[in-house]
Amino acid sequence: MGEKNAPVGRILRTVIPVAAWILIWQLLAIIVQNRIILAGPYDTLSALIVLVRTEVFWSSVSATSVRILTGFFAGSVIGIALGCLAFKKAFIGDFLKPFVSALKSVPVASFVILLLIWFGSRNISVIICSMVVFPILYLSTIEGLKATDYRLLEMAHVFRMPISRQIRYIYVPQLMPFFRSAFKLAIGMSFKSGIAAEVIGQPLNTIGNGLYLSKVYLETGELFAWTIVVVLISFICEKIISLILKLF
């Protein structure tokens, strides 16, 4: 009986807090009574409905998603590859250390402005996402490899286990817990930084451009609507990545 109700209970545990927060949001909107300062859930939903009926919305969503995901994958591949190399060859790790530290601490806005000067605004979110994702995956790969059970590696050495099998049966299972949390963090950071780059860089027909225009025209409802769209895309991408990682 209890087991049968478990999925319902799980859904309720998600739905009830979300509904409570929407209610709090609506109450605050009623108290503030100013759509420019705080658009309520109803205004946001209305703005979202208007938005999804426009062609610009879909072109913006697809352009931004493609760019951010391209940056995410590029940053992930480079991060994992260089993480493996840095683990194998200490001098590569030493060489990359200042660069990775800089990427971690320098504000995204500084990079965006610099990259705008160098490359223009069109693909700025691709580069920014790669730069944000790279250190996360790079450091997780190194940490994961360091945590690999040396006894299993010694066993593999004694049995002359081919490297492809070592990767499949020893390294990948040991790295997966690190990758799961790293990818989850990285995809969220990608959308945050990618959209921020678009807001500053202003490439046309992007979510960042939509957010900027909402600000200019004081359309708070539309601003919230775009924000909800970003959260939704990020959530869907995170779920897809989790599903892919479960295959390993």
């Binding site: 006894r151 299993l152 010694e154 066993m155 593999a156 050495h157 004694v158 049995f159 002359r160 286990m161 081919p162 099998r165 499949r168 049966y169 020893i170 299972p173």
Partner: protein
């Protein structure tokens, strides 16, 4: 193939584990290394495998052995199995030359059939030990080296395991470390 161990000394943190140790390990012979814990049995196996280097003395591979390293089947003191994989995969994963059908057949000689497709983490200590024994014997090797392979096995499974190992020994030497030499009288007992 002969492995010549000559005047080998090895110490860890100032404590001498092996002092002037000598032994010739020859093909088709079995060596049962026995002695109290910490007397250097595992250390000697690691030196034979080239996992550690002696402080002094030599471990040499004599004869016309064509490889630069010893091709060995090994049972480690700890099982060193991948816990999330089943017994069959744990054995097949180590070499391309180990075939799934053969491994299933071999595992069934030491384990009940219902256990061989279970994740290794669900097996008992003795069952894991038997998986490690099959893995060591399944890989084509020139020497079988087993560090306390019978830990956790009762008398009857121990006997079955010993018979299995002897059957798989082939023409290479067999080196076993153990505290209990019962049933291992076929080999040359080396006391530490």
């Amino acid at each position: 193939m002969t492995i010549e161990i000559k005047d080998v000394c090895k110490s860890f943190d100032g404590q001498q584990v092996l002092k002037g140790f000598n032994l010739n390990i020859e093909s088709e012979h079995s060596y049962i290394l026995t002695g109290p814990s910490g007397c250097g049995k595992t250390t000697l196996l690691r030196l034979i495998l080239g996992l550690d280097k002696p402080d002094s003395g030599t471990v040499k591979l004599l004869g016309d052995y064509k490889y630069p390293f010893i091709n060995s089947g090994m049972v480690f003191q700890e099982d060193r199995l991948c816990d999330n994989l089943d017994a069959v995969t744990n054995v097949t994963m180590v070499s391309k030359k180990v075939f799934r059908e053969t491994v299933i057949e071999e595992l069934q000689k030491l384990l009940p059939k219902e256990l061989i497709f279970k994740q290794v983490k669900e097996l008992s200590g003795g069952e894991k030990r038997r998986v490690a024994i099959v893995r060591a014997c399944a890989v084509p090797s020139d020497i079988l080296i087993m560090d306390e392979p019978f830990t956790g096995l009762d008398d009857s499974t121990r006997k079955i395991a010993i018979d299995y190992i002897r059957d798989k020994q082939g023409s290479g030497p067999l080196v076993i470390t153990t505290h209990d030499t019962k049933g291992l009288e076929f080999g040359r007992i080396v006391r530490f």
